[in-house]
Structure formats: structure tokens, C-alpha cells
Symmetry: C2
Subunit: 557 residues, 2 copies
């Protein structure tokens, strides 16, 4: 008897599973149910179609039902919604054109995805408050922003979709306000580096309101809504995009016996099996292991969804593939800036009680003597044994490359020692003889072996001013153009001759512009008996972390 | 007593060692001897200064003796040449301004580098035959090509320096001929992918002569030399650049007792110690272990040299750093093309008797629906256990990124299975949900587990036509526009219905355009009992590997 497999959800995870399964089993009956009109659409491309970077709408449709049938003999049924699963009888109840029908299955793959959170805020049902999940949302939003009357758009929520929407709408020339309830946007990034993104948004005309949740929307007749924030601030918007996050779209599983987590995520094991026999789940709706911490988490990203679809299909076909967890590698274009992260950040490690240390470097994308090098900020997080736990990078060219190298090192459970030894491709147009990743490894290695212990901005802030000296080793000119308050200045090249001016009973907190001269200074000082440590990332780090959005008079809470 | 360390050679390895040593030992006396006028110059930038991409000559001088003294208290002596080492008495004899003097040492680091090979070819002493090693060579060549009279330049040797020189001179508008004695340029690349670079050179006006060694140069009075090749072909050149390779610059060590390899490379252990006590060696002049094969080799590249300098300094200061060998990661810009490689290629593996398999994919640099994606060719080499042995990539944007990820996997001894699991940074402007590296891993995994065994162009060429069928599964239209001779065409989407047209007693060699439809076809066929295999890389691979430079009538040998 040929196996009958039903797949619920036809986008990333579901479509991947269907194609893989056919390649593994030519005889299986494969039914792909998709509630919406389209399968396998370019989810991650939707903002760029609204923005106009992608001009041809048909490019969003990666696969059509006809193509899936012709090539893979998959019975694709769009506008067919699974509304109930009977895991005892192994049947799915399906709604189509107002009618319902049943299909039995030998194996079931659930890939229902996640939907935008729609909070119970007064006035949220306004016709000019929209969210973005699928092609039809996209068409709707695009038709709105194509109208001349829409000039001012407010995006609520500074996650990936919110920031991408703010960017593409600003690039269309609209006046965009981005409202975030937390003190900073983009949770995968730590508070000390994310101001780089916030500055990029502001520099390109996006107004940022941070730390100020939406209280309600007032309906102003015939007009867009008025956005009222907790602070009391209010402003008009011709259109509001809600992007405060997503939740698993799993309400239809409520009475199925399939185990769900506290927020509705489907619980699976390493083979992506649910607690019910022959029922698998993949994609944005499932709870998975964090690859770094081992803790349970949800990672609603396309890369993991595709890999999971493949693995569920493998397991159904009898192959031993396993899903080892997700590390949450992600990347974002924000105007001229690229921001990328992988693994755990400080926030999640603190919450998990996992000790860590950090190193921060400001290398160029390639050799400084070859034209066009662009600066980046690269933050590395590692434990005392040197295992790399996470990384964040922000800058121009080459940020994506360094993030992929670091994501690879994390996946292969590498250490900061490994980072120093990586032999990466070097020619002047591409990198430096010591790549940024090598550099971050050197700094972390020098920190761990005590050659040049690093401190962070927080250590500077919380220092005891009585028994520490904040020592700026840049040139007099650099110092005069701006320095951390209370710092004293001894330029590095004078340091050896001026050691007697330093009180050796005090701890020396050394900094320079990016960290390199500080390192040399710390080496001199430590060899001369001083207890000296180096501010990783230097004054440049201090400056960029101190950026606060300019609110044209709006108070930031 | 403070340690006295002498470093011979002030460029990449030597300069790195000096700075690192000072950071480790504030008290050591450090003398850096450099035969030339400059230390720590931007070796890899020299062609780009000649070409004009780097306009400011001072940018080539990364460190000056004054800076090294001020910051690191290093006694830099330029135009001081070590001419003899007495390893018993621990002294170095130094020549300066025609005089000689001696310095004793507690530790010695040799970083003499490599020099261009100057073969004994008749007429090679011509004043218009030059080679490129240092700043003064650079000045000389640049002054020549700046002259209006120099219109036609011949570069002898298609290694990295030769190809870079050909590129930069052609970009200046000169008429460039590149002569290579081997059948192909750029030995780190295999014969099946390097034609992509050869085509790029030809498309940008560089005339290529392959497989034709230089026999002699005729001196045509008052004019540039006439270049005579083994084939009998001759042509005039206003200037000839010799770039047939480098050799270790170690003649001065002949009677030192320091062990040298057959070609003059300094023999070192994993701590970069020579056989003589307290004598270390680093950089282009040493013989090291190949990280992949474990065999002895020389890798004259800046990245390894810098790392070695650091490690030798560490060992002198008592730190336990080790050098684990080089994998030869390298990269090259050739007009709009990037070509990069890491680890072993087929040629070196065959020579070493190490069995391997290959996979080749043609992914885009990022999601096809987002504008600006550029194609690349990515070749993966791995063993039967799945360990990644090497990779080569050629294309536009993102080639460097994938090469660095693969270099990292090789360094951490990863497998093709790991490649499938890597969670790399995906957003449409940067990659696809399945990154090119994932894709290469999938192809290799399907090969190794027998789901879709791959074959290469060589297998196609050497096939027994009696008991094989060459099956093209592209569309009729694609087939008609060009196909591999003797192929039969059954488009993939018709395959299931036309299986009875295939002789199941014969082996089916399947191909499509890039390999993906071929894979699906192979899965259908194998499940139906056919012995089917897939040409990795497909027809696109066949086409690009078949490129032959156009010689305007010149015979290629």
C-alpha cells in the first residue's frame, strides 16, 4: 500500500517537505493543504515588493500548484484549510468553499506557520491598521501606499518585519514613524550595539519612538487613525502597520491531543515528531531547542523552516535525519547598513544564567590601503572556556560574510582559539591578512589568558571612581575632540616615559579609539606591575552605544 | 638579563613577530633587520598601485621604522642585510653600506620571504623584462607603464601575481598577453573550473597563450624584447613581466647548519623552530604541513605568514602556541569575477593518492526574486566519509563569503553533513533560505548516501557508449539550443510517462542545466529500478569547462 501523507501549510516548511518526500518516495500520495491562495511564496520578499525593489509581483510566487503537480505529482489544494485533526482516526477535517470534508493520513506534517500578533488595543480594527503575513496582505498594503493620500505611515513594532517595513516605506519617500515599546528595537541585538541601527534609521528620515507602547488608536473620521502612546504622545497616521511579533497559528489543534507549549507552539522531538503517532511539525509554529543554550525557544525564520521540512520528510521515509536545534542566525538590511546576529546575545545569556565575556572590534571590510573598505562593529560573546556563544555584526560590506563564518564556528562548537587560527580568503579587495574574525578571536584570547583582560561599557559606568583611573591613551588631539568623562590622557607613545604619573595602587581602565592601542598600553602597564584592563571596542564603541534618537521634542521613555 | 631577539626580514611575518614579541616582553631587545628600504609594506597591494586603483603610494607603507620604534621600541634597521648566520656562536653577520658587522642573539626569527624565480632563459637580462617583489620593483614597473611608449605588455606566468598584473595592466588600457606554460593558469583551481577565469580574462581583452613555455627573448635594439615561445610563436612586447613563481630567499643560510628542504625552504616544526637551537622561521620561506593532507608543502601567502609570526613570538615568550598547518585558502579578483579556493584540489589529491568525490552547484548569490543576484560556480571536494577536503568557487558577489564558510568547515574538520546543517544568515539581499553552501552539502550527501550518485565530466567523456545512455532532462527548447553530443532528450516533466522508452539494462547518465532537475530525474529513475546517476553541475558545467581561449589564429598547445 502506498503511503498517504498530508501536509498542512504550503509555504517554506511545508513546500520543502513535499518536494523532498516525493524525491524519497515516488509512490506516496502527497496532499498539500494551503489555506491561502498561494503556496511557496517568497515570504521574506514581501516588504521589498511593497517598497518597489522587487517590481514584478509574479517573482514572489516561487512555486505554483501546477508546477508542483507537474514535477512532483503533489496534490496541492489551495484555499483548503485544515480545521481539525483527529489523531486517533488519523483524519484531517478540511474546509473549502464553505463546505467541509475529511481526508485520512498515514503521516501528517503540520506547517501552519505563525501569524501577526493582534493585541486587544482600543481602535485596532480601524481599516487603515494592517499587518503583513501573506500575498493578499501585501497587495492590500501596497495598494494603500500606492495612493497619493498616504503620506505618513506609522509602524508599530521594531522587530525584523517592522524595521524592514520602515525602511522600504521611507525609501519610497513616505514619512515613517517607528514605535517600539521596549527601550530598543531588534531584540536579537544587545543594547550596546543596536543604537547603530537606530542611528541609521534616523539618518534616513525614519522617526523613532522607543520605550513607548501604543495605548489606543483614535478613529478620526474619513482619515487615518490617531496613534496614542502610553507617554501621552499622539500623532496622526494615514496608515498603520502592526508588526509587534508573531504567534503560532495553531488554534485548530486545540482539541487534537497534539501537545502545545504555553504560547501555542507545537512541541516536537529531535525528529520533529509531535506526541501523536505519525504527526510531525515544522516551521514557525514549533518549539525547538536553542542550539547554544539547549533551552526551548521558537525561531520563526525561513532557513530553519526549510531544513525542518526536509528532515520531517526524511524521517517519514525512514532516513535517520535529526534536527539539532536552531541558533537563530539572522540578518537585516537597513538602508546602507547590514545588521546580523547569531547564537545567544547578552540578554538571553543573562536570563539563562550562563556566564559569558564579550569582545568588540571595529575592523574594516578589507585592507585599508585598497579603496572602498567599510567599517564594521563586530561583537563576540564567549564563555570562560573559550566556546563561542554568539556574535553580532553591524556595518557595510562584508558583515554577512563574517556572520556566516561565526555561525559556522558556533555550529561546529568552535572556540576563540579556533577563530585565531581560521585561514580565510585574503586579497586586498576582500579582507585583511588578519580577518575581522581572526581579530575578534585575538582580542578574546588575550582577554581569557589574562594578557589584556577586557572590560565593557557597563564596567566603566559602574566603576568605583575612588580606586580606578580611566586612562585615555589616544593622542592629545583625539582626546580634545571628545572623551569619556573623568578620563585622563596619556598618549600611548608617551606612556613608557610617564608611568610615574600613574598611581599603581589603583586599577587602570584603559581605552583608545577602537581597542588596539589600548591593548598595547595594557601590555606595557601589566608588565610594569599595574593592574590594567582594556575597554573592548574603545571610544568608538562608547560613542556609538551612546546614540539616542532625536525626537523633535518627543520625550523618550 | 633581557633577551635579545633578532628578526631577519621586516615584511608580513617579521613585522608581526616583532610587534607581538614586544607586547609579550616589554624588556626584550628586539632588532628587525630588513635588506630593502621598507618594512611592513602592503605586499599584496603592489599590483593595484601599478594599476592605479591604489593612487597614494604612501598607503603601501603600512608601518615605518619610526612608528615601530615609537610604539614598540623596536630597533628597525633597513638596508641591513643578514648575510650569514652562525648558529653555534649565535651571531648574525650583517651587511650595511658596504660594511659588515655582527650581532649576537638569544633568539632569532628568520622571515626572509620568497623571491621571483628567474629562469635561465636566453635574453632574460633585457632591461624591459622585470619582475615584482618589493616597492622598488613596483616603482620601476609603474614608471615604465606610465610611459606612453609602453603599449603592449606580456606577462609570463599565470599564477596569482601574473593574473593580477594582467588584470591591472589591461584595466589601464594596455594590450596584454598572458603566457602560461601549463595547459591552464592558476594551479589552485582544477582544469574543469579554471576556464571560467580564462574566459573572463579574454572577455576583457587579455590575450591568453596556454601550454606554451617561453624559449627565449630576442633583443630588438631600442625596442622591447621579442618573446619566442616553444611553439615557434613570437610576438613583440614593450615590456615583459616575469611571474612564473617564487622561491625561498634562503641562499644566505647555506652554510648555517639550518636544515633546508630540496628547494631551499627552511624546515620547521609545529612551533616554527628550525633544527638549530633558538632559531625560528616564518613566512614564505618555510616548509609547512598541508592542513588537509598532512603532507609537506609551501604556502607563500600573507595570512599564514602573519599568523606564523605571532606564533614564533609566542613560543619565544614561553606561550604554548602551535602552528597547525596551512590549507592554502586564497582569493583573486579578475575584473568582475572573484575566484577563490581552499584546501586540496583534485590535482593535489590525485598526486597524493587520496580518494575523493566532487559536487558542483551553480547557485545565485542571493534569492533570485530579489534584484542583483549573481551566479556562481561552487565545487566541493570530499572523501567517502564525508569530510570536506577542498572547495573552489568562481562568480560575482558572495563568492568570498562561501569560500570563508567552507574554509572554516575544513579547519574545524567538518563534513558534508555539517554543510547541510549550517544555519547561515538569510534575508533576500544576502542569500537564499538554502544557502549555496547548504546546497553543495545536499548534493554531496545525496551522492554519498546513494540517493543521487554524482558523476563528473570525466565520467561522461570516458563512458562506454554501448552500455550507457546520456539523458538530457531539460526542455526540448533548451536541448535544441545546445546539448552534449549523443544525448537523448526526455524533459523531466514527461519522464514518468516515458520510462518505457528507456532501456533498463543500460546505465543512465542524466544531466539538466545545473543539476537540480537531474537530481529529481535520478530519484524517479532509481525508484523505478534504473541505474541512474547525475552529472553534477549539469550542462552549464559542461559548457564553462569547454571554453578554449581564442587566439586570433595562434595555435594552443
Amino acid at each position: 500500500m502506498n503511503k498517504k501523507v498530508i501536509i498542512v501549510g504550503g509555504v517554506a516548511g511545508g513546500a520543502s517537505a513535499a518536494a523532498r518526500l516525493r524525491r524519497l518516495d515516488e509512490e506516496a500520495e502527497i496532499i498539500l493543504l494551503e489555506r491561502g491562495e498561494h503556496i511557496s511564496f517568497a515570504n521574506c520578499g514581501l516588504p521589498y515588493y511593497i517598497g518597489g525593489t522587487i517590481q514584478d509581483r509574479s517573482k514572489l510566487l516561487v512555486q505554483t500548484p501546477e508546477m508542483m503537480d507537474r514535477r512532483f505529482r503533489i496534490d496541492v489544494r489551495v484555499q483548503n484549510e485544515a480545521i481539525q485533526i483527529n489523531t486517533k482516526d488519523k483524519t484531517v477535517t478540511i474546509q473549502h468553499n464553505g463546505d467541509t470534508y475529511e481526508e485520512n493520513y498515514d503521516a501528517l506534517i503540520l506547517s501552519p506557520g505563525a501569524k501577526p500578533i493582534s493585541p486587544s488595543i482600543e481602535g485596532i480594527d480601524h481599516s487603515k491598521i494592517l499587518s503583513l503575513r501573506n500575498i493578499s496582505d501585501t497587495d492590500h498594503i501596497k495598494s494603500m501606499v500606492d495612493m497619493d493620500a498616504v503620506r505618513e505611515v506609522t509602524v508599530i513594532g521594531g522587530g525584523f518585519i517592522g524595521v524592514e517595513m520602515a525602511e522600504v516605506l521611507a525609501e519610497r519617500g513616505l514619512k515613517v514613524t517607528l514605535v517600539e515599546s521596549a527601550p530598543h528595537i531588534l531584540a536579537p541585538f544587545d543594547d550596546d550595539v543596536v543604537p547603530i541601527v537606530e542611528k541609521e534609521l534616523q539618518d534616513h528620515g525614519v522617526r523613532l519612538i522607543l520605550g513607548d507602547p501604543v495605548m489606543k488608536f483614535n478613529d478620526v473620521s474619513g482619515n487615518g487613525p490617531e496613534v496614542i502612546l502610553q507617554s501621552g504622545h499622539s500623532h496622526h497616521a494615514d496608515l498603520v502597520i502592526m508588526a509587534i511579533g508573531v504567534m503560532p497559528d495553531t488554534a485548530f489543534l486545540k482539541d487534537s491531543g497534539i501537545e502545545l507549549g504555553p504560547k501555542g507552539h507545537i512541541i516536537v522531538n529531535e525528529y520533529l515528531q509531535t506526541n501523536c503517532e505519525d504527526v510531525y511539525a515544522v516551521g514557525d509554529a514549533i518549539e525547538i531547542s536553542n542550539f547554544v543554550t539547549g533551552q526551548k525557544t521558537a525561531v520563526p525564520l525561513a532557513g530553519p523552516a526549510n531544513k525542518q521540512g526536509r528532515i520531517a520528510a526524511d524521517h517519514i521515509a525512514g532516513l535517520p535525519s535529526k534536527y539539532e536545534g536552531a541558533q537563530g542566525t539572522s540578518i537585516l538590511k537597513v538602508f546602507g547598513l547590514t545588521a546580523a546576529s547569531t547564537g545567544s546575545n547578552e540578554r538571553t545569556l543573562r536570563r539563562s544564567g550562563i556566564p559569558y565575556r564579550t569582545a568588540l572590534v571595529h575592523p574594516g571590510s578589507h585592507a585599508g590601503y585598497y579603496p572602498g573598505a567599510e567599517p564594521m562593529t563586530l561583537k563576540l560573546i564567549y564563555d570562560k572556556q573559550g566556546r563561542v556563544l554568539g556574535a553580532q555584526a553591524l556595518g557595510g560590506a562584508g558583515v554577512d560574510k563574517r556572520m556566516d563564518v561565526l555561525a559556522t564556528v558556533i555550529r561546529l562548537k568552535g572556540t576563540v582559539q579556533d577563530l585565531t587560527e581560521l585561514e580565510l580568503a585574503y586579497a586586498p579587495p576582500y579582507s585583511s591578512a588578519k580577518d575581522p574574525v581572526n581579530m575578534a578571536g585575538f582580542v578574546a584570547q588575550n582577554d581569557l589568558n589574562g594578557m589584556s583582560p577586557t572590560i565593557t561599557l557597563e564596567d566603566i559606568k559602574e566603576r568605583n571612581k575612588e580606586n580606578t583611573i580611566l586612562l585615555d591613551v589616544r593622542t592629545r588631539q583625539e582626546f580634545e575632540q571628545g572623551h569619556i568623562p573623568d578620563a585622563v590622557n596619556i598618549p600611548l607613545d608617551e606612556l613608557r616615559d610617564r608611568l610615574d604619573q600613574l598611581d599603581s595602587s589603583k586599577k587602570l581602565l584603559v581605552y583608545c579609539q577602537v581597542g588596539l592601542r589600548g591593548y598595547t598600553a595594557v601590555r606595557i602597564l601589566r608588565q610594569k606591575g599595574f593592574n590594567a584592563v582594556n575597554l573592548t571596542g574603545g571610544y568608538k564603541y562608547y560613542k556609538s552605544a551612546s546614540f539616542t534618537p532625536d525626537q523633535d521634542g518627543i520625550i523618550i521613555y
